[in-house]
């Protein structure tokens, strides 16, 4: 295994971590409209993710920075090529980020209403678009011989990528609903469990269609294996949710999200952005990578600091481990 292979694994790990973590806080963001019946319940939902969503989002920033450093060509072609979807994601993340902090800062119905919409759409839009983006990465895009994307915006909205978007959206909502069941108490918890059961079925259908399509068009033996693990995790999570084992249901819904993402990366490898115009134009782990010197330095930094991050981020979840109910919301 060469350094650029290792860094492909590292980038995949960062995105998998991002989808696992921000996946459920996107889901909770969507549920603020779908599950909460009044303002207090909405605040319960927001407060389940309030201390952690920001740290979850740093996984994306780290993944982006690591992609820039380890695979400059991939970063450059991808970000300039997927310009408008990324612009939408950015705007969504901006309004969503400030909405958590600002929504309670003034009285007034329209003030809250507007920030609630920001949280809802700011969660829904990226949850959908990340699926679209990663489906397109696996599917390949029109890259010319200078690795420039020539396909335009509408070419990114094909049937396969739209199913990918629906899959991530439903998976994240499911993941968020299971998280809500784990982190809340009382009626909210019961309704979260029920809703999880319903959304989970939809997510399972979308995921099975998406993963089978991925497997038949782009798959390998290995990606077939990870896709099956993803499917089993999702089914297991649904069963555990049904019998009220919230913690294990959440672990497995996270497992489903993670293995679905891993499947995409396994199917992609050794390409990082295939060209649909000419395979010779494809970006691969080899031709998109930085020098071994840069990768070597980055490896040391990652080996030392990533475990440290995992420890203190994990500790945060431990500190805020207790369930929250409407009785815990101050006036």
């Amino acid at each position: 295994m060469e350094l650029h292979d290792l860094w492909f694994v590292a980038i995949a790990t960062l995105f998998v971590g991002y989808f696992f973590l921000e996946g459920f806080d996107f889901g909770v963001g969507v549920l603020t409209q779908a599950l909460a019946r009044d303002d207090t319940e909405r605040r319960v939902l927001i407060n389940t993710i309030a201390p952690v969503w920001d740290g979850n989002e740093v996984w994306l920033i780290t993944a982006g920075g690591a992609m820039f450093a380890a695979f400059p060509e991939w970063y450059a072609s991808l970000f300039s090529g997927f310009y408008l979807p990324l612009l939408l994601i950015l705007v969504a993340l901006i309004v969503r980020g400030v909405a958590f902090e600002y929504r309670g800062k003034r009285e007034g119905r329209s003030w809250r209403r507007n920030w609630d919409l920001a949280i809802f759409f700011g969660s829904l839009v990226p949850a959908f678009l990340w699926g679209v983006a990663f489906a397109n990465i696996v599917r390949g895009v029109a890259l010319d011989d200078r690795h420039l994307y020539t396909g335009g915006f509408w070419a990114l909205l094909n049937v396969y990528s739209l199913i990918g978007g629906v899959t991530t959206l439903l998976l994240f909502i499911y993941h968020g609903a299971v998280f809500t069941a784990l982190k809340t108490s009382g009626g909210l918890r019961d309704r979260a469990e029920r809703l999880a059961g319903q959304v989970g079925l939809g997510a399972a259908v979308a995921a099975v269609v998406f993963l089978i399509w991925t497997q038949t068009r782009h798959g390998s033996a290995a990606s077939g294996g990870t896709a099956i693990v993803a499917a089993l995790a999702l089914v297991g999570s649904l069963v555990l949710n049904r019998i009220g084992r919230d913690g294990w249901a959440f672990a497995l819904s996270g497992g489903a999200v993670a293995f679905a993402a891993i499947t995409l990366f396994v199917a992609l490898y050794p390409d990082v952005l295939p060209s649909t115009v000419d395979p010779a134009n494809s970006l691969t782990v080899a031709n998109a990578a930085a020098t071994d010197k840069t990768l070597g330095i980055m490896t040391w930094v990652a080996v030392i600091f990533l475990p440290l991050v995992l420890i203190y981020q994990g500790w945060t979840y431990w500190v805020f481990r207790r369930r929250i109910g409407v009785q815990n919301i101050p006036a």
């Binding site: 605040r43 927001i46 309030a50 201390p51 740290g55 989002e57 740093v58 994306l60 920033i61 780290t62 982006g64 920075g65 690591a66 820039f68 450093a69 380890a70 695979f71 400059p72 060509e73 970063y75 450059a76 072609s77 991808l78 970000f79 300039s80 310009y83 408008l84 990324l86 993340l93 901006i94 309004v95 980020g97 400030v98 958590f100 902090e101 600002y102 929504r103 309670g104 800062k105 003034r106 200078r146 420039l148 994307y149 020539t150 930085a290 020098t291 010197k293 840069t294 330095i297 930094v301 600091f305 991050v309 203190y312 981020q313 500190v319 929250i324 009785q327 815990n328 919301i329 101050p330």
Partner: protein, 465 residues
């Protein structure tokens, strides 16, 4: 539309905007940590009330710095893909390390700080704020190391086969003499920003004689931070001037609109008339000072724009290597002028409030309140100066800005994103300033110290969104 111009405009707007929030984040995190330290050590209620009051303003600002920062990272790939291909081997690493070392630290421990009042012991809670402050300062180091590479590319070699700049020495990138000067210059500038903001808000309350205990302490801390910060800015700025003269002589010449090489060179305080190298109508100069700023001796030789342009043509091929002189000249002056005004206000404030005095005249307080704009003007002017006066280069001597833009992104797309960001940023600016003003005018919270009574499972949380 010209994609290059639009992409530059967008980078300028989003960067200056982002950097309105960053100095407040860095400066205030240190000041809030100091106030909480005072509380933990003395147990005096006024420090806790101050911590919570300033913590609230800090948080209103923090989110804006965070979300506008994501745009910065994405923008390199979106608008500047050829730049990213060219420098990624060097430039990406500090960005990734910044996220891994600094952003995780900031965001995780800030979450613990905001919501941990009743979950953590007082000392652990305090440690969280210090970790946030350390995170913000670490983040400044890595991003400035990346920027310093653009000003003075070191630790790199151009590889003609891959047609990109490749890393040869990462230690040289992190130890770049430019970052060693810009890092303290920026961080002390952030301390000034925090100090002036604290001074201005405290002045508003003190002028009305409200919450005297809390705001007298805050005012003195704010004034002291401004003064300490300014001394740091001054020393590092002096160093930076000499480094700049050595590494980017054109930038220093542009800062002074110095067309002809002079020895000794005088510092131009201001110019009335044009800055195009023809005779200015009126110019106020201090003899020999530019020589000192640039070289450290009063009779040092400072090279002029015309000579440098000729020299650069000789070295880098045909072209025009002059930045836009009026922007450089005035950017440099506005930065220094606003910084000096801020410290004059701080010095006057320290004198007027010595030994517990409180000035009675209203205009004194009004001046202190309005001084809040000064550090923001200084930071913006400083960044506009240092980035614009590097032009036409994006990476000095290696890559011109026009060769860094994304070749595959049409002007219309860049225009669309420019409009979207301008509208979103404009609307959020109104919201953020409105909230800052609203919360700055509130009384500091009076309730019993949180954390003293750990809340049980059925009680309301000490703090919730």
């Amino acid at each position: 539309m010209d994609a290059l111009l639009l992409a530059r405009l967008q980078f300028g707007i989003t960067t200056v905007y982002h950097f309105l929030f960053v100095p407040v984040t860095i400066g205030m995190s240190v000041l809030v940590a100091l106030l909480e330290t005072a509380w933990v050590r003395t147990g005096k209620a006024r420090y806790l009330r101050a911590t919570r009051f300033w913590g609230k303003l800090f948080l209103i600002n923090f989110g804006m710095g965070l979300v506008t920062g994501i745009v910065q990272e994405f923008q390199f790939g979106m608008n500047w893909s050829d730049y990213s291909r060219f420098v990624g081997d060097i430039f990406g690493a500090p960005l990734a390390i910044e996220a891994l070392l600094a952003f995780f630290l900031e965001s995780t421990f800030l979450g613990l700080w905001i919501f941990g009042w009743d979950r953590l012991p007082a000392k652990a809670h305090l440690a969280c704020m210090w970790l946030v402050a350390i995170g913000t300062i670490l983040s400044a180091y890595f991003i400035l190391a990346a920027n310093s590479f653009m000003q003075h590319p070191v630790g790199t070699r151009y590889n003609p086969q891959t047609r990109r700049a490749e890393l040869t020495d990462f230690g040289a990138v992190l130890g770049n003499k430019v970052v060693l000067a810009t890092f303290p210059h920026t961080v002390f500038g952030c301390l000034v920003t925090g100090g002036v903001l604290m001074t201005a808000v405290a002045a508003w309350h003190l002028a009305r004689r409200r919450s005297l205990e809390v705001f007298r302490a805050s005012l003195r801390l704010g004034l002291a931070a401004t003064l300490v910060g300014f001394v740091g800015v001054l020393i590092s700025g002096d160093l930076l001037g000499k480094v700049m003269t050595e590494t980017q002589p054109m930038k220093m010449a542009a800062a002074e609109a110095l067309y002809e090489t002079r020895q000794p060179a005088s510092f131009s305080v201001l110019t009335i008339g044009t800055l195009d190298g023809s005779k200015p109508v009126y110019q106020l100069e201090v003899p020999r000072v530019l020589s000192f700023l640039a070289t450290g001796t009063f009779d040092g030789r400072v090279e002029g724009i015309n000579d440098l342009n000729a020299e650069y043509r000789h070295r880098y091929g045909p072209g025009d290597y002059r930045p836009v002189i009026p922007v450089a000249y005035w950017g440099f002056r506005v930065m220094i002028g606003a910084g000096v005004l801020a410290v004059l206000v701080a010095l006057a404030g320290l004198w007027l409030t010595r030994r517990g005095r409180l000035p009675g005249r209203r205009w004194v307080w009004t001046v202190a309140i309005w001084s809040v704009v000064l550090p923001f003007i200084a930071h913006s002017a400083g960044w506009i100066f240092t980035e614009m006066a590097r032009q036409p280069w994006v990476v000095f001597s290696l890559l011109e800005t026009r060769h860094g833009v994304s070749p595959s992104v049409p002007g219309g797309t860049v225009l669309a994103s420019l409009i979207v960001f301008t509208l979103v940023y404009g609307a959020l600016a109104v919201v953020e300033v409105g909230l800052m003003l609203r919360y700055a005018r509130k009384d500091p919270p009076d309730d019993p110290p949180p954390g003293s009574t750990p809340s049980g499972d059925d009680q309301p949380m000490a703090f919730a969104y």
